[in-house]
Amino acid sequence: MEGAKKFVQKYYLFLVLLLVVIFFSIMSEPFRTTKNFINILVQNSYLVIASIGISLVMISGGADLSVSYQIGLVSVFTGIITIDMGLSPVLGVIVGLALGVVLGFINGFFTVALDVHPMVTTLATMTIFQGAAHIISESKTYFDFPVSFKAIGQRYVGGIPVAVIITLGMVIIAYVMLNHTYFGRYLYAIGGNQEAARLAGINIRLIRIAGFIVASLFIAVSAIVLTARSGTAKVDLASDAVFSCFTACVLGGISFRGGGGNILGVVVGTLIIGVLGNGMQMIGLSMYSQYIVKGAILIGAIAFDNYQKKHRVKKLDVPQTA
């Protein structure tokens, strides 16, 4: 009895994912094909990477609402470089990543300098990034990406989609960073108790800015993967990413109060969102019904997060030493 309860407590996210998969497998024949499962993975790889980025900020007690238009801005930049300028895709990727660093710095700098909740600063930068992306791209949509660039999102290596390999790599990087480097510990510490963190000799401002920068690097990678997969670059490429990422993080156990959660949870959380999206499409649920379901899930996830805090479920999944 006790054992079963513990098991459920520990793996409830996996169980939810399993239940969702089983549910749609019963409901829809095309859903339960290998091809569709791979499709789900590829489709959602950008979301996994971006959610991980957001989760880094959330662990340190912040949030990043500008994710959608960071993706948009990086996306159109790669378009401009590889298509308008006709330069090498490698350069496109490098500039895209560098841009990520800049955007992260902007978010972090204003959050720290103004000392307000990052919800506020990133709400502002969201609009700024959106506007900037429109101006720079003249609101164009880019299509003709070089094949070598599109390979990032469309090619397979050894039977595995490149996008999935990249995602896996990013998951591992984030995992190692959070569990084995002191930068990761510091993110948790700041989210857990900012004053205690400061007195423990942590440079709060520096680490918070660094957190935003690393997060935006992840988001830039996510933008590149998405652009390559869809073969399109435009401002609104991922306008609903902010919603999906936030839901995935909260669902995955990243408390929006900071200081808790782990990467594996975020990955599973994102997959749940991904499977739900795909499944709902497969069973022919209308776009608008899907919105309602997604909103309901976010509310449910937040309620659960609240419940955990209130009832002091004293087992926040915080990395312990190996």
Partner: protein
């Protein structure tokens, strides 16, 4: 004679994963008595309290309040039946005013009238003989002041049974006296009180009976008048314990840290120094600026004027991080807000301030983390089933030990202890005194703040007394005298 029992507990057991916190305890509380509860850190005192007021549900056993038996009760119901608890951990709402916190939960009319609220709160503080601005936000109060608000909050309700879990831990002599006079008044009104404290002299002053717990088990209940300190300690610890303040053997006159005309948020023109091998005490009343001085030296608060010297060289400490790099460590007074990360493991907490030196290229050496945790668990006797236990699950005193360990792990050579033994039991206190002495003998400089006068006089080699932010005097060990210190501290020159 059949005593009138207000509350009786029969065969109460409460377990947590890996610990039996309360092991089959039966206990009666007589109406109108002050019943003290003592025992080592983690003995189960707080847990017993939580069971009786409904904050936790016991696994088994029956309780009887005013003759009505029950196995579980909600915190709300227990309050309605006149049980009020002042918990060990401060549970105030930071963003509300003092008055709002005090009156929380009792409705004065439908609409909150702030005037009435403030007036009611003020009356209570007057009764307590405490000067308090009831409109102030709780977050702007010191720990001691917050504790006074907790006490006022409990007094504002008409309790039949008042439980005080280490109410005096953050308080200095004056406030303790005020508290005791209130306790006396309540007693004369027939209120029953359960009183938990690690300060045994308090137990002897106010309690009628005393119950000793050890490792979750009932040991004995005694009439306070018929026992003595030694007996109680032996019952608590399970062996003889010699209570002494060890002396330093390597005191030099080489100043390690020195302030010259230092001013900060409260401190004004402070000139103090601590020599190599020495333990220097800082005395003063609540609000005298002892903590603020410590924080200024540690770089946690701004130094507005004056200078700081480290090893004879002027130095500007920019931040706590800088201080730690320079070998200055601070053990903060408020463990919940500033000292520990409640929802993280013990080993995690102990290593967090020491990250740079236990990692290579940014990667944590997990082995070192474990080693340090084991070292300090043994050194400070942290009672826990495992080292990755979350700190929130530890008893108050054991949490305090984790806070100590976190700073000690940084191997600083100037260590500022701000209320190091708050909530710590007699045995562990001895360990900490030994440890401080050893640190000093190894050539470190120690600055110590304590509201426990006896401890401060016992441990210090020299003493500075602060009064309202200013240095009121300096006493050498030969000149130590409690009355003199209090005079200086209260500005009676």
């Amino acid at each position: 004679m059949n005593q009138d029992i207000i509350l009786s507990m029969k065969n109460i057991t409460k377990t947590y994963p890996g610990v039996v916190a309360i092991d089959n305890i039966s206990l009666d509380f007589r109406r109108g008595e002050i019943h003290a509860l003592i025992g080592e850190n983690g003995a189960g005192k707080s847990t017993l309290i939580k069971c009786l007021c409904g904050a936790e549900t016991p696994d088994s056993g029956v309780m009887e309040l005013n003759g009505v038996p029950y196995t579980r009760i909600s915190p709300r119901d227990s309050r309605q039946h006149g049980v009020e608890v002042i918990y060990q951990e401060i549970n105030l709402i930071d963003d509300l005013s003092v008055a709002e916190n005090v009156c929380l939960g009792d409705e004065i009319g439908k609409w909150v009238s702030f005037r009435k609220l403030n007036a009611k709160a003020s009356r209570i503080f007057e009764r307590m003989n405490v000067a308090m601005d009831v409109k102030k936000m709780v977050r702007d109060l010191s720990t001691a002041q917050q504790q006074l608000v907790e006490i006022a909050k409990a007094l504002s309700k008409d309790a039949q049974l008042l439980v005080l879990d280490e109410p005096t831990a953050p308080l200095t002599t004056n406030e303790v006296e005020n508290l005791f006079s209130i306790v006396g008044t309540l007693k004369s009104h027939g209120v029953t009180m359960i009183y938990i404290s690690h300060r045994l002299d308090e137990i002897f002053r106010i309690s009628d009976r005393v119950t000793v717990l050890r490792d979750g088990k009932f040991v004995e209940t005694l009439n306070t008048a018929e026992t003595d300190r030694k007996t109680l300690i032996k019952l608590m610890v399970g062996r003889e314990l010699s209570e002494t303040y060890p002396r330093r053997s390597n005191i030099t006159d080489i100043p390690v840290i020195e302030t010259r005309n230092l001013c900060g948020s409260v401190p004004r023109n402070i000139n103090i120094h601590v020599n190599k091998g020495e333990i220097v005490g800082l005395a003063g009343l609540v609000g005298a600026g002892r903590t603020e001085l410590a924080r200024a030296i540690f770089g946690a608060d701004k130094i507005t004027a004056g200078e700081l010297f480290l090893d004879g060289q002027p130095i500007k400490i920019r931040s706590p991080k800088h201080a730690i790099q320079k070998g200055i460590g601070l053990i903060p007074e408020d463990r919940k807000q500033q000292g520990c990360f409640l929802y993280f493991g013990i080993d995690w907490n102990i290593s967090i301030a020491n990250m740079p030196s236990i990692s290579r290229f940014g990667f944590i050496k997990h082995k070192r983390v474990k080693q340090d945790a084991i070292k300090y668990r043994d050194l400070l006797d942290i009672r826990t089933p495992s080292l990755d236990q979350l700190v929130v699950n530890l008893s108050g005193g054991n949490q305090q030990k984790v806070v100590l360990a976190k700073t000690l792990a940084t191997n600083s050579n100037v260590i500022i202890f701000d209320e190091p033994t708050r909530g710590i039991d007699v045995g562990a206190k001895q360990e900490i005194y030994q440890l401080m002495t050893r640190l000093a003998d190894e050539g470190n400089a120690i600055l110590m703040i304590s509201s426990d006068m006896e401890e401060l006089l016992g441990m210090s080699d020299r003493l500075y007394v602060l009064c309202e932010g200013r240095l009121a005097g300096q006493l050498k060990r030969e000149e130590f005298d409690q009355v003199r210190v209090l005079e200086l501290a209260s500005g009676e020159e």
